[in-house]
Amino acid sequence: MLTIVFRAIIIYVVVLFLYRIMGKRQLGEMQPFELVLTLIIADLATIPMAEVSVPVLHGIIPLLTLVVLHFVLALLCKFSEKFSQFVSGKPVIVINPKGIDYKALKNLDISVDDVFEALRGSGYFKIEQVQYAIMETNGKMSVLPKSDFAPLTVQDMKLKVEKSTLPINIISEGKLSKENLKVAKLDELTVSNILKKAGAKRVKDVLLLTVDKAGEVYVQKYHQKYQTMKVKPLGEVEE
């Protein structure tokens, strides 16, 4: 039994390492060859775990071989568009201004219901709202709505708005991130001032504290409503 435990640990570490090498894309938008690879890896990894007579290397070596193969394939796809199309296929327009392209649907072996499902997933419930719908190589559908149904943007309204900035987590679940503090160009004095203002005695009392580049602070204590305030990089807190 102990052998199986150790084998499971070894294989887990190896598979984790291999997925990191292959990149994050593996986890989400998978191309056909990536999906095949994922399925085989899952199967291969379990063989030496379940069968003690099989050496761990018999599981690991094929996994490593597949990773090398994947890398070569990805490289070839990068350099040759034709090869990439051969391996992954190419995006297909399933809805155009004339409506549904039935021939494209037949080629893709999908039904009209599947198209509707994908459209609803993109937030469009009526087909007349859609100008183009493209079936991507990873199986997801990209939708371009007709101008009348496109979401209104700030640019459309010709409004002047402040640039949106990314909030930085300073405290998360009672833990202060000194690294993020540096990124936000704040010091611990500023944080303690914010905490005082928010009525928190210690960092541990805070569920979340974020600051964006405009100095907007979001602070929420455990089991309490959040508060917002403004901050200057010198440790002063504004209302």
């Binding site: 099989v54 050496p55 018999h58 490593l64």
Partner: protein, 134 residues
């Protein structure tokens, strides 16, 4: 190229080197171990001919030597070869000793031939060949 890409390329090249290295190592270890078993089998056969039977000190000593070497090599082979594939060889080697004790010459020859056959056919079944790949 970014640092991450360089790392990825280095990792993939290292993996490739490891895979090739392991294949070569497996081939060498298996060939060396099985060749050693095969040679000892022929030595046992020659000793039987010289002494006119299996019940004598020389054959017993050679069988002991075969057993010792095989179990030593098998420990290393376990990292590379499915244990089930080497199990039978170990069983037959242990049987040889019993047959000497029981003075069962025919059974002894049967086991010895099974071992020789196993060694000769192992490469055929497990080695890299078009038949095995397909």
């Amino acid at each position: 190229m970014t640092k991450w890409l360089w790392f990825k390329l280095l990792a993939v090249l290292s993996i490739l080197a490891v895979v090739i290295g392991m294949c070569v190592l497996e081939d060498r270890v298996v060939k060396t171990s099985l060749a050693a078993v095969n040679n000892r089998c022929y030595e046992i056969e020659a000793a039987i001919e010289r002494n006119g039977g299996i019940v004598n000190g020389e054959v017993a000593s050679l069988v002991d030597n075969l057993e010792y070497r095989w179990f030593k090599d098998e420990a290393g082979m376990c990292y590379l070869v499915n244990h089930k594939n080497t199990e039978q060889l170990g069983v037959e080697i242990v049987r040889l000793k019993t047959y000497i004790d029981e003075e069962e010459e025919i059974e002894f020859y049967v086991s010895l031939n099974i071992i020789k056959n196993y060694v000769e056919t192992f490469q055929h079944f497990m080695g890299a060949s078009v038949e095995n790949i397909l």
